[in-house]
Symmetry: C2
Subunit: 123 residues, 2 copies
DNA sequence: AACGGGGTATAGACTCTCTACGTCTTAGGG
DNA sequence: CCCTAAGACGTAGAGAGTCTATACCCCGTT
């Protein structure tokens, strides 16, 4: 996924594990097809997170293979065929695990970035 | 780097871009050799973030090649030879960029994970 | 009939990290 | 004096996840 900064100097790609978590979270609102998942993530993040098709579909297949989601073809409101994904009970558990991993990571990183006291040596 | 959760079910590896940021941040406390950088990150994160040697040294070389750090051989307090790394002015700029990218990402993800209002469809 | 947009998919390259080695040096114990 | 443990640096090879680019299908509009 691409991080779209307000400033143009931001470089591409970031964060391996987080895409799966975002997709699972998005599917908690209810079953959606892949394209709509990407749109939702983009909208909810105010266009900051933009999931490319080449990342999205491999990720969805990964999730399906691991049993976190199921898929079936259906029609969209615009009467187009699309593959709808639904979160499984296992997927909900996985989402909880990933959420707790993520918050653990964020807090660990913030402890390194802004520690209460300087670790040791001075400049 | 490995995320060491309190619970044992946490899986390995996470976060591509963040290692560089953590190393640069650690070197802001003053020049250190590689091994000490890893120790500092581990200590500051209360053992949650554990940087493996096979990730650490390639990362340091990457940073040196890009001009974010310089290195020179010297002696440790225990009288052992070690390569000391120092943050360059360019490295400080890079650190600022990565910090802002990181906080942008974290806030974007949290908007997706816990939105103010539900996006659209119900379950 | 052509086109654009919604929608899915894959191949190939790239980047970063991990595991597993290998090396050298110093300090300490037998 | 030798052996080992620990500090310290490094590389090779594999694996995972993402990106770019490309391709295809379907539908509605012009």
């Amino acid at each position: 996924m691409t991080l779209h900064s307000t400033r143009p100097d931001a470089r591409t790609d970031l964060l391996h594990g987080t895409l799966d978590m975002l997709i699972l979270r998005t599917l908690q609102w209810g079953p959606q097809h892949g394209y709509a998942v990407a749109q939702t993530i983009r909208a909810q993040s105010s266009d900051v997170l933009q999931v490319e098709a080449g990342s999205l579909y491999p990720a969805l297949q990964r999730l399906a293979k691991r049993g976190w989601v199921t898929s079936k073809w259906a029609q969209t409101e615009a009467n187009q065929r699309a593959k709808f994904y639904r979160l499984t009970p296992e997927g909900k558990k996985q989402l909880l695990r990933e959420e707790s991993r993520w918050s653990e990571l964020v807090s660990a990183i913030s402890r390194v970035m802004k520690p209460a006291a300087a670790p040791n040596t001075e400049d």
